[in-house]
Symmetry: C2
Subunit: 332 residues, 2 copies
DNA sequence: GTGATTTGCGAAACCGCTTTCGCTTCCCCT
DNA sequence: AGGGGAAGCGAAAGCGGTTTCGCAAATCAC
């Protein structure tokens, strides 16, 4: 153990230069001859010097930490974005300070905002829930960059990175069409849910472009497995010759699959099934075979992009969408 | 906007006391008359003063941030622990700095450790994977408290909070017995996987205590859905009158369920199914009906406890287990 | 009432680094 | 050769708190 931590002045002394020179040499700032610079660097290494990050943050007035505001951190989607962003930021020496609205209840976000400002955070990530409602705009409440993730921003000028629900819908249909399906139905969640709406819309569009129409009117219901069962039961009764079902989520897909199989139909032989969420990857992580064919909405990509854009200071206003991709498995 | 941020000296000046008095008054340290203390407090509030957390951290030498070491942050279980711990810490004004071993590959953890020390972190949380292998001990590599989460520690003296796999096994069987099942089988993952082993062991124990034995030898395989299908198929052929299956994970359970239903058995009428993981809660979050009856291993509890014990300085050596609980749904 | 404590507060050092500013020196032009 | 500008470096002023220490006044013991 090197024992007592060595400081920049130790390095300066050992290198025979002034404190300020040492600082500049190591930081690459200001005008310092390459010779001195190198010399300082070498002595610093030799002594095993590391900047005291606290002192540095204090002097610079920037904390190297990013504030994260979540609506509900226990939401599984939020978690994915959070974890990937945190990983990305951690790799770049940035800490995160998380404020979950749920923890505060009515304590008002204002308090959290003040806390974050007191911490002199360098930026803010707001993670929303994409689906049901717009997250309020925090952009003007901070004097540091704010970037939204996985949310429909209240103010379209806010810098936002989120899933592309239209593209998700189109992609699902595109995949089903490419496997030769023509009598396609769509079972999805609440009609008020924006994600559900847009996916249905995107899907309908592509279907129309292909000169087709839904084999049955789109059924809106819940995000849950049981709704999948119920909707599928009704659907099979109504349109027995359906040959593919686009399920609004993997959970719905699970319910649908059970009913379809129970009805004696082969999957995907008789009826192809495709979901959305890549639920299994949320569970398994390791690559390998999967069960339900699905659309990955790109949550991890959102987390990565949001972290990187914040660090790079790329805050171009407006919404940027990540591209979804098909994860092929056994059901389509 | 109050414009230029106000500092402690502003408060001191406004209150007509010295800087040091103001500091002590607000911190509750040292001897200050209750009158002055209150007076300073009031003026501070009036001015809307907040400590500059950076300056404070610097002066105190403690960063108010916790280092987190993960083996693979993208693992879904890790994510849950991470997110809950982060939420808990955030509520207490602590930031987290995450180092994911995957990001660093062979860059060696040593580097991360040095980084964390340079950051003057106040403590470390090591999140493991519980199952396959022991995470190396970091306790002695930091001069701050280290606490392990969801892992089998290399050194039993390390402070650790993790899932109780024996109890999980016992609980699963206990639930099946309480619903009148007697011919119970167990399909689970790799025989080398410690979690799988212990669950099987715990389950077998309780079964024995009840004077029963497995309806078929425990089948070890993989954590995957497909293995569930395969194992269930074999099981049904071998022991047609089985009346309950304890599945080593929800993923396995899903595969098992499909096969059982396809074989024309009612679930849970003919055969009850119970899994482990509470997979659906990892997906849904919102409470409400579920599909697969399962055991929740208590990941969130682990995250919470680990955060709180670290903050409270409760570092009693040894492993502490969180209690699993049954989540009743449609299959048992 | 006198000496010994205790109480309440302020002066000032300090945490370790960044950054401005000014002073030499050196180089380049004309 | 002389003057202007740039290059290289150091002194010192912060950054905004915390904390040690000392001193005066108030309190206590007897």
């Amino acid at each position: 153990m090197a024992d007592s931590v060595i400081t920049l002045s130790d390095v300066a002394a050992a290198a025979g230069v002034s404190l300020s020179t040492a600082s500049k040499a190591l930081n690459g700032t200001d005008r310092i001859s390459e010779a001195t610079r190198e010399h300082v660097r070498v002595t610093a290494d030799r002594l095993g010097f590391r900047h005291n990050a606290l002192a540095r943050s204090f002097a610079r007035g920037r904390s190297q930490t990013i504030g994260v505001l979540t609506h509900r951190a226990s939401n599984p989607f939020t978690r994915v974005v959070l974890a990937t962003a945190a990983t990305e930021l951690g790799a770049k020496e940035r800490a995160i300070l998380l404020y979950d609205a749920r923890m505060e209840e009515q304590h008002d976000v204002t308090e959290s905002i003040l806390q974050l400002r007191a911490r002199r955070i360098d930026g803010v990530i707001v993670i929303g829930t994409s689906t049901s409602f717009r997250t309020p705009s925090f952009t003007s409440r901070f004097d540091v960059p704010v970037i939204n993730a996985f949310t429909v921003p209240e103010d379209p000028q806010d810098t936002t990175i989120t899933a592309d629900d239209y593209a998700i819908g189109r992609l699902a249909i595109s995949h089903l069409l490419s496997t030769g399906r023509r009598r396609i139905a769509h079972l999805t969640a609440e009609p008020h849910d924006m994600a559900a709406q847009r996916r249905a819309e995107g899907a309908g569009q592509l279907l129309a472009e292909a000169g087709l129409q839904w084999a049955a009117p789109v059924r809106f219901g819940r995000w849950r497995e049981e709704w999948g069962e119920q909707a599928a039961t009704e659907l099979l009764a109504e349109v027995p010759d359906v040959d593919a079902i686009f399920c609004g989520s993997d959970a719905i897909g699970r319910g649908v699959e059970r009913v379809v199989r129970a009805a004696g139909r082969q999957v995907p032989g008789d009826i192809a099934l495709i979901g959305v969420d890549n639920w299994e990857s949320l569970m398994h992580d390791q690559r390998g075979t999967r069960h339900l064919t699905t659309i990955d909405v790109g949550l991890e990509e959102i987390g990565r992009r949001v972290a990187n854009r914040l660090l790079e200071g790329d805050l171009e206003p407006g919404t940027q969408y990540v591209e979804p991709h098909v994860v092929i498995a056994d059901t389509a």
